[in-house]
Subunit: 141 residues, 2 copies
DNA sequence: CCCATAATAGTGTATATACACTATTATGGG
DNA sequence: CCCATAATAGTGTATATACACTATTATGGG
């Protein structure tokens, strides 16, 4: 029986990556009944909130590499959750949720809220309010 | 000019993933002169510290999926940084750093320390000491 | 007005990751 | 002593990610 069970590493990058990986698994698990991963949910959540957006605008909002987003959009468009409503002849795509996409978002949002509440309960509201600005600082480095 | 420049998301999973991604890029950049990524450095750091280990033991120490580790070991073994010193006929592999691996570790450790110091300077020692236990809590969820 | 540049989208390729599964060897309970 | 199970390692496949690059269209300065 190892006594060093899940002690933090001296490497703070590894600590952050382990936490990120663990939390991603929790959100993915909670969302699994909806058929969406947290990264897919993140995309449709942003589209639901910010209305029609070009690929570049959406990538910028999510702060995800645009070329990553291009790949991630594929199954969501193939599944009819996201549609392109750009005018004929426009060079820009204008992505927005279809009715099916809106319904899927509302369905998945319940599971996402479960995950959010789970984290808040387990960590405590105060800890979470401490954590978030620190994560934001790291993102801005 | 967007005024919502890098504000945290309401989604705490996304906040954590963004921070993890940003910090990974910083560590990868600092390490790039050594030719190692932070995930490769993590592997040789653990081997340097914990001596010869089987694949399963090493995966358990790093808290990385064993099958992921199997793939990540490939280039490090091909490059002669890691060698298998198991006895002939043993079913277990016994991985340890070669002399070349030890030298590479020492070389890369300098860059890793740069990254560690960079984070501590930018975030502040106190913030870091607040952050690490919170990350550990999340990993244990 | 036209061409160099910017804006936009996408592809080729590579790394990092893990789940489901297979293969092989070790081992202990009957 | 032997076979069911555990321990160990690896492969097939899929998702998530981003860098370097290409292709196409828009646009503004001369």
């Amino acid at each position: 029986m190892p006594t060093d069970e899940k002690k933090p590493s001296v490497c703070n990058c590894l600590n952050l990556r382990r936490a990120s990986s663990a939390l991603t698994r929790i959100y993915d698990d909670k969302l699994s009944a909806s058929g969406l991963s947290i990264s897919q949910f993140s995309i449709i959540k942003h589209l639901n909130y910010y209305g029609p957006l070009s690929v570049s605008e959406l990538a910028s909002k999510i702060r995800l590499d645009r070329t990553t987003l291009v790949r991630s959009l594929k199954p969501l468009e193939a599944n009819g959750l996201i549609i392109d409503v750009s005018q004929k002849g426009s060079r820009n795509r204008q992505l927005q949720l279809s009715d099916k996409g809106i319904a899927k978002y509302k369905e998945a949002e319940v599971f996402w809220k479960d995950a959010q509440n789970y984290l808040e309960e387990k960590l405590g509201k105060e800890n979470l309010e401490t954590l978030v600005p620190l994560l934001s600082m790291i993102e801005r480095l």
